[in-house]
Symmetry: C2
Subunit: 484 residues, 2 copies
């Protein structure tokens, strides 16, 4: 209940200042808070409950695809990071470095992990001996640190929580299969749990992970039409295997280097959920991830009315709990129903059940959808149907959120034919355009428009065309957009 009193004050409208709207929602919905530690946030209980649901939904999928969890050290010797040239170049500007331990200056400074390819690569080199040990399919849930100058709650923080999968395989084909399998897991999670339509695609060389051969991404469009990279899956080829001597004896007793992958989703996903579904009343949570799916608000003006209403509210609570719904009864007496409505709308609870004296008389209740404001989102329901209708309604809301976000993205995705059209397109969202594949065009576009190459979508139209910037032959289309 911390901070509850400030909740009903409302947030800055999206149209006025999207960035302030975002920060208002994060704070007023009690998801996270700033701390005196530069760039580090507190994930508050409500935000953490959302992360727990994201964790569980991903973890289940990882285990279903044969992965196991493990835990590797927080600290990485600086010399390890230097073993893969592109990797150290990419990460060294962002490192937090421990130089003192137990009161003494360390001989070799330790980096706080910005990601764990190097320390995990070192361990895999010890563990993997033979083709029988492969594949190694390990995931880690952990905190990582990347020193950031400009931070935003959930989107870019110095410390964040994530999962990082690290796998080793006998062949290039298997490693590539794994890379794309996990990209598919991320798409499945985004679409079916977070109700976020995402575009799976390959990153350009400019945008790929430091040390990868190829990086794959799921890109989503936020409510301000900007892109958010929401998860990545990297095919490392033999880069890390060679840097860390991850080798195995094959069936012919020949020593071979492994082929490795890594893939990650972070607390940034919470930012994606907020900015995909939120509105001027606050957060809107997809039912499958919502810590509270249904809130029951009893309505009474007198003690007598309260005595009628409360037993019914408690009965509904128990029945929905038994039906597996995450439900809360807001029985606070010091607050008005109107205040509570605003409060739970701010927190994005998908479905509200109102119970007043009239409803008791009619053995009915009012269901109010968070995603459809006002009367259109309200319906009456008889008590007898609750266990069936409430979960049905949650499923309807889940699908409606996805549909709405998809329609929004499609409305703001354009296929420009000229560079002039391209510039207008990236001012209004995504441009899907032929691209020759050169970093020069990519850079020039970015300098000119601030739109970056988000990905080369897996789903290509086929055929060929002319690069939207230089006019040279192009065999692939890319998505460009301004990004977080």
């Amino acid at each position: 209940m911390i901070g509850a009193k400030t909740l009903a004050e409302g947030v800055t409208p999206q149209s006025e200042d999207y960035s302030r709207w975002y920060t208002d929602v994060v704070q007023k919905a009690d998801l996270a808070d700033y701390t005196p530690v530069r760039g580090c946030m507190v994930i508050k209980p409500y935000g953490y409950a959302l992360w727990e649901n994201i964790h569980d939904a991903l973890d289940r999928r990882f285990k279903e695809t044969g992965h196991v969890n493990a835990y590797f050290p927080l600290f990485i010797p600086m010399s390890f990071l230097e073993k893969e040239a592109e990797h150290v170049e990419g990460f060294s500007p962002e490192l937090a470095v421990v130089t003192v331990g137990g009161g003494e200056k360390l001989e070799e400074p330790l980096a706080v992990r910005p990601t764990s390819e190097t320390i995990i690569g070192h361990m895999y080199a010890q563990w993997i001996k033979s083709y029988r040990d492969l594949p190694v399919l390990i995931n880690q849930w952990a905190n990582v640190v990347r020193w950031e100058l400009r931070t935003r709650l959930f989107l870019r923080t110095t410390e964040f929580l994530w999962q990082e999968g690290h796998t080793a395989h006998a062949t290039s084909e298997e490693a590539m299969e794994e890379t794309l399998r996990m990209l598919g897991v991320y798409v499945d999670f985004a679409v079916n749990e977070a109700a976020i339509p995402v575009i799976p695609g390959r990153k350009s060389d400019t945008e790929k992970f430091a040390g990868a051969v190829n990086s794959y991404t799921i890109e989503a469009m936020m409510g301000d039409k900007r892109a958010l990279q929401s998860g990545t899956s990297h095919y490392m080829g033999q880069n890390f295997a060679k840097a860390f001597d991850i080798q195995y004896l094959d069936q012919n007793n020949q020593l071979q280097h492994c082929w490795t992958t890594s893939w990650g989703v972070s607390t940034r996903m919470i930012g994606a959920v907020i900015m995909t579904h939120g509105d001027d009343k606050g957060l809107v949570l997809p039912p499958r991830l919502a810590p509270i799916q249904v809130v029951i608000v009893p309505i009474s003006k007198t003690d007598e009315e309260r005595a009628q209403v409360m037993p019914v509210a408690e009965d509904i609570l128990k029945r929905l709990q038994a039906a597996g719904v995450r439900v809360k009864l807001d029985d606070r007496t010091e607050l008005t129903p109107g205040w509570k409505f605003n409060d739970w709308e701010m927190r994005g609870v998908p479905l509200r059940i109102e119970i007043g004296p009239k409803d008791v008389a009619n053995q009915s209740a009012v269901l109010a959808r968070r995603d459809i404001p006002g009367r259109d989102g309200k319906s009456f329901i008889s008590w007898a149907e609750l266990e069936v209708k409430a979960p049905e309604m949650l499923a309807t809301i889940q699908q409606a959120l996805y549909n709405k976000a998809l329609a929004f993205r499609e409305e703001h995705t354009h296929q420009p034919e000229t560079y002039e059209e391209f510039k207008a397109a990236v001012d209004d969202g995504f441009a899907l355009a032929w691209w020759c594949g050169s970093a020069e065009c990519e850079d020039a576009i970015k300098n000119d428009t601030r739109a970056s190459n988000r990905c080369i979508p897996m789903d290509q139209p086929g055929g060929s065309g002319k690069c939207i910037f230089c006019g040279k032959d192009a065999s692939e289309k890319a998505i460009f957009g301004k990004a977080y």
Copy 2:
């Protein structure tokens, strides 16, 4: 499968070298491994699966007692640690300190959290305004770092995983109630999940947490008769509330300091499980925490026999899965049944089901208990009873492990009347003895015998006696023992 080949080699017998036995078990059962990062371990997948079960069993209890999870920063400004005098004195020798971030020297160095009272206290001071905001009941699952000179896998590592609960209350009574409630939760967990008999008690002033008014502990006896502190719950009084200005307006609109608690259990609990139940064949896991509760080993000498046996083994697998048992079918063809038996015994799987051609003919199977070696632990069972009998047997094993550990502790707990008897007692385990309460006696005993004051048990005999060391009046008995 990593490292499987070395598993059947066996471990150093406990009687030969208990310490080596422990390290052998941790490594050969694939629980954890050393890393090149001083004092930091890798928790391998099998060890991590055990930790996940510990996590889930504790987390469920925390939520049932009204707690929520949150996440606070990894880094703590050095000035925060200095705000509570005893706290900084206790922890500063153990700190890892970040002095460089993003390539630049930091103005104020950041400690990697050794525990989070200070940063959480600072946040609570921002969040708590009124008595309506209390109690605050938050837990955090996190990694912490304490620079250790001598480390042992799980028992004492520079980085470890734990949970730390931090609560704030309006009154001293409520805070003390919470402190003891969580001690009770730890007892419940230890006894009913880990099958470890523990002694709940109060720490002496010498042994209490740096900054606490009173610390409570659960103490367990390991297989070498030494004590292991397995969880602690601290009553902070107003020490941290005053250091961090955690204040609230009471019902009379008066500003009051809160009363706070903290409590934690760490990956050290895995060490407790290993050393309470393990034997010369390796790990013995309590069924409720075991990642694999039942392993099915099919036995066949010919392809024809295998064709008979495997469908039955697979059927048993499915039926036990459907009955909610964590079960694995070991269908590896390159290994003998005997090798597999040793392998799964090393890994502590509580129950083995053997299926051979004779069993197929009889529609029966052999159940072999991990905790009872040889024939005495074997029984025949008909297929029809499997879903009932296997879970029953797991419950029996769970209870048997507890009973065995309790009997062992009781056998090695003595109530000496003289100091000579006391010295003999602490050479053989625990001494429960009258103690006058002075740090001088405690220190003298420790210097003389290497046995420390483990706790003043909650369960006291009543009455009074003479201090075992100085002979002065004593009103409480304490447990003394050599400790990890």
